[in-house]
């Protein structure tokens, strides 16, 4: 019973980061209409920013969140202006391939610069846990989870309450033919893509503490985020959180209860993507 409870708690804590990454991707998909294969690489960049700041200045990763968000917003904006906007009118597949190329390039540039090693940001509280009635909570996951909740709350608040947020949602619900893009829409695209990258970057910072920074750390998150937004229904931002919890919980349960679970977690998760996609396609017909 305790094991089950602990597993569920681990699942929920992991869901925070998943929801962050996936909300970012959902913004890009919903607003700009692009599945950004390089989304996870933005996460990877965020992780490396936290790592580099930590080793060079000793800055606590949770304090570098703001800076990482800002840098990634810029990276996202530059990516949008330089790469995405020129192909907005091109066939959807070209856009997908472009971001796929960007993902491969970023991953391997990181490999060239940093090597394949995993780098952990070892803060003083990294191994710290809080015990509560037989259950234990890792401090970093708890912090990351709390921050994720705050950031997601702010994101939804922004989308619901502000004029700009309203514009973003309007564009998401009523995507125009790319040829008809007005200046306003262009600005919303830019904002959404920048925000999307910033969310990925923030998640990356958290990963650097909870997991590690490495060139390939992000790619799995692209796919997890994709699985989540497919489960939620494309462009449905609200569904992201429950879907993230479902996926994280499933992973936690598999790794705890399936013998030799570690290696199977990935397979189970890809199986979930595969089955969700194909099952939906057949049901929709």
């Amino acid at each position: 019973m305790e094991l089950l409870l602990q597993t569920i708690i681990n699942g929920i804590l992991a869901a925070g980061i998943y929801a962050l990454v996936a909300s970012g991707l959902a913004l890009a998909v919903g607003v700009v209409g692009i599945v950004n294969f390089a989304h996870g690489e933005f996460t990877m960049i965020g992780a490396f920013i936290a790592y580099l700041l930590f080793v060079s200045t000793g800055l606590d990763p949770f304090l570098s969140l703001g800076l990482a968000a800002l840098v990634l917003f810029m990276v996202g904006a530059i990516t949008y202006l330089g790469l995405i906007r020129p192909v907005l009118a091109a066939p959807e597949l070209n856009q997908m391939l472009l971001t796929f190329g960007l993902s491969v390039a970023l991953q391997n540039i990181a490999l060239l610069v940093f090597g394949a090693d995993t780098r952990v940001v070892s803060t003083s509280y990294q191994g710290a846990t809080l015990a509560l009635g037989g259950l234990s909570f890792g401090v970093p996951p708890l912090l990351a989870f709390a921050l994720s909740v705050v950031i997601l709350g702010a994101l939804y608040g922004f989308l619901d309450r502000t004029r700009l947020g309203l514009a973003v949602r309007a564009v998401a619900q009523n995507r125009l033919a790319p040829g008809l893009l007005g200046i306003e829409t262009q600005r919303v695209y830019l904002l959404a893509f920048g925000l999307s990258a910033a969310l990925a970057g923030v998640a990356g910072v958290m990963l650097s503490v909870m997991l590690y920074a490495s060139p390939t750390v992000g790619f799995a998150y692209t796919l997890k985020a994709f699985a989540i937004i497919v489960m939620a229904g494309l462009g449905n931002l609200r569904g992201v959180v429950p879907a993230a919890i479902t996926l994280a919980m499933a992973e936690a349960l598999v790794s705890t209860y399936v013998p030799g679970g570690g290696g199977w977690v990935e397979a189970v998760f890809f199986l979930v993507i595969f089955v969700t996609l194909t099952w939906r396609s057949w049901r929709a017909a």
């Binding site: 997908m96 796929f100 991953q107 394949a116 990935e266 397979a267």
Partner: protein, 302 residues
Amino acid sequence: MILVGLLLLVALVLPGLPLGEWRAFLLDTAQFAFLISALALAWDLLARTGQLSLAHGAFFGLGAYAAALTAPALGTLPALLVGGVVAGASSLFLGLATLRLHGMYFAIATLAFSEVMRTLVLKAPFTGGAIGLPVQPAFGGAFPLGGYYLAVGVLALAAGTSLLVSRSRLHYAMAATRQGEAVARVLGVPVVRVKLLAFMISAFLAGLAGGVYAMKTLFLSPYDAFGLGRAVEALVIPIFGGLYTTTGPLLGGLIIVSLETWLRLRIGEGYLVVYGVILVLTILFLPKGLVSLFRRKGVGHA
């Protein structure tokens, strides 16, 4: 057509040329380039039906493992055939499951399929798992150039199939399926059959290439044989060379693999960066690929 024949001819006589001290390295690189080009040609055949697959690394890997595991019992050529058939059979399953998926959904589903396959090979009791699988050379090492000529053979088969399809009625069915599936069906094109057929031919060729690759590297690991890198190569080469053509993947394969090999020597890990950069640049500046430079108007078949 002429270019394709010429390239194959050069491939045939290459070992007889005075290559000097670089001979072994050159032939090894050429063999690798032929296999990857064959993989790219196979990928392109499926792409002609509008299905951009990220599963070709898995077909390649399945072919490699199947051939490696059966070669001691069956001999080289039958084992290669088994590799192709295993890959083809798996593609039938994948093709049926993904029949109604398009664009990015299809791509992601095929990627997920590859990862599941990789895990299965990693966990299966007879594949050597994470440690890897030693492989016998082609024909038990009886002919030093055996593996090389097998690679030439696979490349010739892939190029021949590609040319043949371009000139057959299947060309129109595939192009119609790609450019408007619903309309194609209403016009009488048996779209399901066309897609599955393309899947099986494509995966069979990829599996063959994988088998020869196994007998070339003499050692397989799931990370190498099923790596995303293979899938990336299979996809970037045709796009760079020119989609839906025979010359495109062939030319693209030789150029990119040469570049890749050079980069591997210089920088080791991270060489795949060239694929990422080339893919981005091609989409931005040369969306119809290399072959469009040689043709006045990009009408879709050659």
